[in-house]
């Protein structure tokens, strides 16, 4: 979960803490953000009663130690004895669903992920949204002044993997659209660094809500010189619906769904790499770079990482944990912090990379070394497909980590 959203969730939880007293707490939507909230609540001594989820496949199971039940089941508990907390971007739909079902208890939105949605057609809602679009349109005009004659491409979501795919097929799309010059807008510096890997100089970082407003202005005005390069954000893009029917790998979603290119279109390989200045400090071909952290993915158990560390220690390897910001290195490993465009040189020098499946795996996919991607056992978004089915990367050993697995068992899969 992105730090800014985590901070927002923590702060809102503090603000509304008293509302939870003497209530059974339910969370709506089984996803990574909900599990992060569950952890936070447990640290406060609050044990969620259940997670409400529309997925029949999940209902009746105990996932991550919390039972999953159908949303309507909350009606079996008294409205004044319960409270529902929501930290997904589907707050409006979930709120509406519970109210229509007859639930009268408190429903709290702890994170405002989705500035695009408001389930109301009241005049004041429309006026407020018009104000937002005017603001977005002004920002868009400023961008066009800064990047004269450039075709504007927007990456609405702060995820390195999505930006990687969007950029790797962008040149083919530009050729299709007969566009010479492009400028890309992203919501974070990390995403901007991914864009630069592909040699694109015109990159602009906007705050998330600002970017949302600009994108809304693009949709509202149907500006022909703008494109939103994402597979399910914002709401008007319905590519995600296809996944309810068919498993389409994420890379193909970008190539064919987002950009309308042929399936056999070759992606561009990034080339904006730099060599890490301290490369010589890494034991060549006898080191391992571990990447255990990913913001939008359920974590892999600490024991697995511990077993990995022991395994490579016993073989005399040097072991590094890739860390960023406040992240701590795994016990028995050295921290390693480098820029995204230096990571290829690092993993190639080390010889082995083992990481939880995350955007970083996409970034280093062309690195010449042993690469292992570990997939926690979870479904992609709200679909019935496993993440490993959606995100497998060519050139990697893609391994599913199931309950009860040990490193020894994993490596033999």
């Amino acid at each position: 979960m992105e730090q800014s959203y985590f901070n927002e969730m923590e702060e809102n939880l503090r603000t509304f803490r008293k509302n939870l007293d003497n209530k059974q707490v339910f969370l709506f939507g089984h996803c990574e953000a909900t599990l992060v909230l569950a952890d936070l609540l447990k640290r406060e001594g609050i044990c969620p009663e259940a997670i409400l989820d529309n997925s029949e496949a999940k209902q009746g199971q105990v996932l991550d130690g919390i039972r999953v039940i159908s949303p309507n089941s909350i009606l079996e508990f008294g409205s004044d004895q319960t409270i529902v907390l929501i930290v997904t971007r589907f707050y409006e739909a979930m709120n509406s669903q519970l109210r229509k079902a007859g639930y009268r208890g408190d429903i709290l939105k702890l994170v405002d992920y989705n500035t695009y949605a408001e389930y109301s057609l009241q005049s004041n809602t429309i006026e407020r949204k018009l104000e937002r679009v005017r603001f977005g349109w002004q920002k868009l005009e400023e961008l066009k002044t800064e990047y004269i004659n450039a075709f504007m491409v927007f990456c609405p979501f702060n995820a390195l993997g999505d930006v990687y795919f969007a950029m790797s097929y962008l040149p083919a799309f530009m050729k299709k659209r007969k566009v010479d010059s492009v400028a890309v807008c992203v919501p974070s510096n990390s995403c901007a660094n991914v864009v630069r890997l592909f040699g694109i100089e015109n990159v602009c970082v906007l705050k998330q809500k600002e970017l949302d407003a600009v994108i809304q202005a693009v949709i509202y005005t149907q500006d022909k010189n703008c494109f939103i390069a994402h597979q399910d954000r914002p709401y008007i893009i319905k590519l995600h619906n296809a996944l309810r029917h068919k498993c389409i790998p994420l890379e193909q979603i970008y190539c064919c769904g987002v950009y309308g290119l042929k399936s056999d279109t070759e992606p561009v390989i990034p080339y904006g790499w730099k060599e890490w200045a301290d490369l010589e400090t890494i034991k060549k071909d006898r080191s391992v770079i571990l990447s255990p952290y990913a913001k939008s993915v359920t974590a892999i158990r600490d024991e697995i990482w511990s077993e990995i560390t022991d395994h490579y220690n016993n073989m005399g390897y040097e072991i590094y944990t890739n860390v960023c910001g406040d992240e701590k290195p795994l016990p028995g490993t050295r921290p390693l912090s480098a820029k995204l465009n230096e990571m290829k040189s690092i993993v190639e020098r080390a010889g082995t990379f083992i990481g939880i499946r995350s955007g970083l795996c996409d970034i280093i996919r062309t690195a010449d070394c042993r690469k292992i991607a570990l997939y926690p056992d979870y479904n992609y978004s709200d679909t019935k497909w496993k993440a490993i089915d959606m995100y497998s990367i060519a050139g990697f050993e893609n391994i599913l980590v199931e309950d009860g697995d040990t490193w020894e068992k994993i490596i033999r899969k």
């Binding site: 389930y119 057609l121 018009l130 679009v133 703008c226 994402h230 769904g257 987002v258 309308g260």
Partner: protein, 132 residues
């Protein structure tokens, strides 16, 4: 000033249309906006029309194309061109409900029609995916 930045509240019919829209959204499980003849052809294609009629979801199709409406086995809200313009403006302004599907493609973003063109989905699968 960009001509596209039209203030829909200046259109005299916007209040009545948004009220009707609210009612339709309330009464339907899914609202499909079919603004062009191509959209209607897609929905009235026999295989798709069957899919639409066999679902137990209450679907309303909003269209300005009235000729083929009788072939649609769903509820139909026939609107004028002006009314359709207001509805589209509302939907492009924000998401007033997650029940809405806009069938028309756009040069601003990708669509499931790209999957159909590339043979990843059939037209019928696309319609089923919209409905599910």
């Amino acid at each position: 000033m960009n001509e596209g930045l039209i203030d829909i509240t200046e259109n005299s019919i916007y209040i009545s249309i948004s009220r009707q829209f609210e009612k339709v959204l309330d009464q339907s499980d899914l609202v499909m906006i079919a603004g062009t003849s191509k959209d209607i052809e897609l929905l009235t294609d026999p295989a798709n029309a069957n899919t639409l009629s066999y679902t137990n979801k209450h679907i309303t199709v909003i269209t300005v194309i009235n000729d083929s409406c009788e072939k649609l086995k769903t509820d139909v809200w026939s609107v004028t061109d002006d009314e359709m313009e207001v509805l589209l403006k509302i939907y492009r302004l924000y998401e007033p409900s997650d029940k809405i599907v806009l069938l028309a493609e756009s040069s601003n973003y990708g669509s499931m029609q790209n999957y159909v063109l590339e043979g990843i989905l059939t037209k019928e699968e696309m319609i089923e995916a919209f409905i599910e």
